[in-house]
């Protein structure tokens, strides 16, 4: 089997801890109900999350503790309270994803440590899209140095592991869109997208995604990141496009788009469809393997 459903998902703790303080936060929080239904209807047996807030340096890390349990307090929004978590991880999948990544030349490792701090973005997605651990999940980190080529390879490795698993898998990219945030405390009632320009870029991106044009969005990620302060260079879109097959053939469905502390946060799904043959172009190469960054001059 392969990927049955993909999500672009928000990442901010307000959605878990304080949705009632702003109408938009509440709407986005509530919009997860429809997304949960779509996830259930898809028959997915595993939800794989790529989180832009789980930063790694040594290659790519896959969560492999079968039951991460701890509490998380956000670095900025500690006054909102504590996120307690108790997750169910598919550890076999973590192992096979790690092996698939290594086969494609990536530095990758599983992490299985009591007390490992799961990041806020992963928790927002895990708890709102998959409450009560309805299905097991996987989480993969975001290497801060990885650019497009390496991130595509990471996405393709996920696809290898998904195909080998024989399972129906849903994937989610936890990321902000525009990531310009208020840098002074605001009254939640006054929250809005930081600038009109950020808002316009977010809407353009969502328009393309609603048309199912994920590969076009992947090709536009650099420009979007530059123009709208995209989170982590919008590399979540590269990973999502690669794991879902690098096409524009999806049905896009937007559940919600709101400002959280000035940033753009959206919940949207992409369902693979096979009938479309939309034209699109590849502006950049799509690497199959990665060769690392040591001794590059001798390679």
């Amino acid at each position: 089997m392969s990927v049955v459903l993909g999500f672009v998902a928000p990442s901010r703790p307000q959605l878990l801890l304080a949705a009632e303080r702003n109408d938009g936060w509440q709407r986005l929080h509530d919009s997860f109900a429809d997304a949960r239904q779509q996830l259930a209807d898809s028959g997915a047996e595993l939800l794989l999350i790529y989180s832009t807030q789980w930063h790694s340096i040594i290659g790519h890390q896959m969560q492999a503790d079968s039951n991460p349990r701890w509490s998380k307090v956000d670095d900025d929004f500690h006054d909102l309270g504590t996120i307690n978590y108790d997750l169910k991880i598919d550890t076999d999948f973590a192992d096979s994803y790690c092996e698939a990544a290594q086969k494609r030349g990536l530095a990758a490792r599983t992490v299985n440590y009591h007390g490992f701090p799961v990041d806020t973005g992963s928790l927002v997605v895990a708890q709102l899209l998959n409450p009560d651990n309805r299905i097991p999940i996987g989480i993969v980190s975001c290497n801060v140095y990885a650019d497009r080529g390496e991130t595509l390879v990471l996405g393709k490795a996920a696809r290898d592991a998904i195909e080998a698993s024989g399972k129906k898998v849903a994937v989610a990219a936890s990321t902000s869109l525009s990531n310009r945030m208020y840098t002074k405390a605001i009254d939640p009632q006054n929250d809005k997208i930081y600038s009109q320009k950020d808002d316009e870029w977010n809407r353009k991106l969502l328009e393309l995604l609603e048309e199912g044009r994920l590969e076009d969005v992947s090709q536009l990620a650099r420009q979007f990141a530059t123009e709208a302060h995209g989170e982590q260079r919008m590399k979540a879109m590269w990973w999502l496009a690669a794991v879902m097959g690098e096409t524009n053939n999806y049905n896009g469905k937007l559940f919600g788009y709101e400002a959280v502390y000035g940033t753009g946060q959206a919940l949207l799904s992409l369902c693979p469809q096979h009938s479309s043959s939309q034209l699109f172009e590849y502006d950049e190469d799509s690497s199959e393997t990665y060769q690392g960054d040591r001794d590059i001059l001798s390679k």
Binding site: I58, V73, D75, D76, Y113, F116, R180, T183, A185, D293
Partner: protein
């Protein structure tokens, strides 16, 4: 009450590798002892000795690994304990910590910085997990854990606006820190928890401590590190500040998180030489253990 003072200002880098290599009882993983980071270990030994000879009440640490975007935050809970697992190097750092915070001094720094126009917040959630940068720098500089600490987050003005505006904020935060220390009557040691050049290798050898795999990422990085260390040795701190935006951009320096500029601001931008106790690389990044004896008189 007599006037407080900064008795020492240090660059105290926080690679968890250095704690790992020292095998303290608080850290779960055990290292091989292969010695990749010996120069930094030796540098920290010298710093520890120097601090042991000083009379002080509190360690004030500015840490890049408590990253905040809504201004600068300070720990505001008197005591924290628990297990700190480094999210980036969990194989090396799983440290059982137990520390006390000087909340009163933290509040004084907070209000002195607010008076200078900075966005400041106290962190009051007792469930908060103290970041590993704070724990690492405090442990390496003074492993006895017998002093209270003050912990300041790194705001994101350099990233969210510009290096230049970030630098101005960090100087102001440093000045606010000095003013608060002086008013408190306390004797403080300041720790700027930061690397110099900061490009990591993204793969790790089977034994992370294998010296064969430990060297600077490239010669651009070492050229910058040598240059900045030269300025530190010559007491040319104003020149460091003048060149800081270039240093940050060209060597991906962790000084972008503001710790060194905060320290120099608190010390009144020293014009006298500091002691460089050690320099070495950790997974390709440049790190130095440095001490200034106190503010410019």
């Amino acid at each position: 009450m007599s006037k407080g003072e900064i008795v020492s200002g240090c660059i105290a880098p926080h690679p968890p590798h250095l704690v790992y290599a020292a095998n303290p009882p608080q850290n779960e993983p055990r290292s091989s002892g292969a010695g990749a980071w010996q120069a930094l270990h030796d540098g920290y030994q010298k710093l520890q000795k120097s601090l042991d000879s000083k009379d002080f009440d509190v360690l004030i640490v500015h840490t890049p690994h408590w990253k905040t975007r809504v201004g600068h935050h300070l720990l505001g809970v008197p005591q924290f304990s628990g297990l700190s697992v480094d999210p980036i190097f969990p194989n090396l750092f799983r440290f059982n910590f137990d520390l006390e915070v000087d909340v009163e001094l933290a509040e004084k720094i907070c209000s002195a910085a607010q008076q200078r126009g900075l966005e400041m917040h106290m962190m009051r959630n007792p469930d908060f997990r103290v970041d590993y940068g704070t724990i690492t720098s405090c442990h390496l500089a003074h492993p006895q854990w017998d002093k209270q600490i003050v912990c300041i987050s790194s705001g994101s003005t350099h990233s969210d606006y510009s290096n230049e505006s970030g630098e101005l904020e960090m100087l102001a935060l440093g000045e606010a820190t000095r003013e608060a220390v002086e008013k408190s009557g306390k004797r403080a040691v300041l720790l700027a928890s930061t690397s110099l050049s900061h490009r990591h290798f993204t793969s790790e050898p089977a034994d992370p401590e294998d010296p064969e795999h430990e060297y600077i990422y490239n010669s651009n990085q070492s050229a910058w590190d040598e240059h900045v260390l030269g300025l530190i040795r010559d007491g040319k701190c104003q020149q460091i500040l003048d060149e800081m935006p270039d240093f940050i951009e060209q060597s991906i320096s962790e000084c972008k998180e503001g710790a060194l500029t905060w320290l120099l601001g608190a010390l009144g931008v020293p014009d006298y030489p500091a002691k460089v106790y050690g320099y070495g690389t950790v997974i390709g990044t440049g790190n130095a253990v440095v001490e200034w004896r106190g503010p410019k008189q």
